[in-house]
Point group: C2
Chain length 319, copies 2
């Protein structure tokens, strides 16, 4: 006796509406493609569960009761909502009209997605991404627990649960003030950098660890007193002469339109890069489409950002 939430079935509501429209059980049954007795019993059953009369049966014709009159638009609203569900479901079938939750690292998203997403939208006008920026570690965690459907991440952690598709290789450029002693060279000898103060982002950026590794490798010292919270502040600190730094190729490509501000170069013979991947759960039902999507990413990047990054002709691989 808590709450008799005995819902009428959608079919019964459909039958109710059909009879209300034609005011004839026989004609309504024909329109519905069912037999008249079925229609009669179903409507009776609906009336019984609702405990009221929807129709006034007359040997000649059928009329809506005042109650039926009141309930008719509500029943139609249920059917309309069902129809919307159906229509939307149909659109979603092939995966190109769906909204995916995409996670990207903050040091990549703003400099990559503006080139890629508009082009994807051009190809699949109904395809949408809900983009969120987080550090790679949280991205992977979020992908695992369902917060994301897709992430882009530099780490290709082996995991039985992920499918990792390599997108492109991005160089890390060495930047320094225009008036720096090493400025002017396109390639700088690693030995020249020894002893330089290298600035980087705060610790939980993947970028931080990578720079740390590089510094250890070439004997440079990381300047830990000032760690930026964004690539923009990092650039500003370099401009102000606090030190030198590494900046992702896509950032340089996107943001350094005033080349006189900084000198951009690379380390000689030591290609420093990071590799970005598109990653999804191997259990994701969208995995077929995700594989195509990764390919689209590569194609678009190869087309639009060839000057900044390198796209291997890699096919998706499972790790």
């Amino acid at each position: 006796m808590t709450s008799d939430n005995k819902f009428p079935s959608i079919n019964q509501l459909k039958y109710f509406v059909a009879v209300a429209k034609s005011l004839s059980f026989r004609r309504a049954a024909q329109a519905l493609g069912i037999s008249q007795p079925t229609l009669t019993t179903q409507v009776q059953s609906l009336e019984k569960t609702m405990n009221l009369s929807l129709f006034e049966r007359n040997r000649s014709g059928t009329l809506l009761t005042p109650q039926g009159n009141t309930l008719l638009p509500l029943a139609q609203e249920v059917l309309r909502a069902g129809q919307r569900f159906n229509d939307t479901a149909r659109e979603l079938i092939d995966g190109t009209s769906t909204t995916y939750r995409l996670g990207v690292p903050p040091t990549l998203g703003p400099y990559l997605l503006p080139f890629v997403l508009p082009e994807l939208h051009r190809r699949f006008s109904q395809l949408k991404f809900y983009v969120r920026e987080e550090f790679p570690q949280q991205l992977e965690e979020g992908l695992l627990n369902g917060q994301y459907d897709l992430i882009i991440s530099p780490s290709n952690h082996e995991s039985a649960q992920f499918i990792v598709s390599e997108l492109f290789t991005e160089p890390l450029k060495l930047v320094m003030p225009k008036d720096h002693a090493l400025a002017g060279q396109e390639f700088v000898k690693p030995t020249d950098v020894q002893g330089e103060k290298v600035l980087t982002l705060e610790g939980h950026h993947h970028f931080h660890h990578q720079v740390q590794t590089i510094c250890a490798q070439i004997g440079a010292q990381m300047y830990r007193d000032y760690e930026g919270t964004s690539l923009d502040t990092l650039r500003q600190m370099v401009v102000m002469g606090v030190g030198i730094s590494f900046l992702p190729g896509l950032y340089v490509h996107s943001e350094l339109h005033r080349p006189n501000e900084l000198h951009v170069c690379e380390l000689q013979n030591i290609p420093i890069t990071r590799v970005q991947h598109l990653i999804w759960r191997n259990t994701a039902p969208g995995r077929v489409f995700f594989r195509e999507l990764a390919q689209f990413f590569r194609e678009i990047v190869a087309e639009k950002l060839a000057s900044a990054v390198h796209v291997k002709n890699t096919t998706t691989r499972k790790i």
Copy 2:
């Protein structure tokens, strides 16, 4: 292949929402009071008819797919619409929370309903009437074809399809200008009226025919050149001295608050009245309540309008 309007059942949507909420088939099944295999098969069936995946099944846990995520609010909207249907149906059960379409003659409605409807609303706060004024002939036609649920009418045509419940008897008052020769008497001898010009409403008012009958009976002449379209214009014409007229007691009671304008009297020994009835179809499922309703009408009229009309202690009778 026209349109696969294979609707998901309401139950399946309910199951979908339940699983989406708890992200666990077993817990959702428990919450729904069904077994886990049933839930699994129903959700699978839903996915199959929709031809997409709503959930990503992982041996440890369950996640919504992007499609499921999109469809979830739509499914909830269907359920909410169903809930509204249910809630409304529950309110409508006893008939006192329903909107009834009530038809009344134009010579009665404005002078009766303002006294009755507020009182009915006081007793049944959810009871509503959609009131429409028409001539009695159209009222009966409208009642027959379902345009009205209830009508008030002076005619008590015998009909196998109607139930007629007498409400009250209303006198027709004789009115004349203050300076008329007969003014001043409370009862006028019928013979004195012979030769008087009697004004009335246009032909399709029931009122017209009744006055016609009376005139023939007492030997007065109907003045056919000016037939009013409303009781108000009729009154104005009498005030202007065009002739004398009969006016319904309830109209006199409602509108003649300036008694010096007109003299109101009655014919001696000839009680002229009209009887109003509440009428509904004998097939109307609301007939039990309509019977009560007629009784309420009589009680309210007896209480509020005793000075203007007469209520018999009549019970409902079938004609």
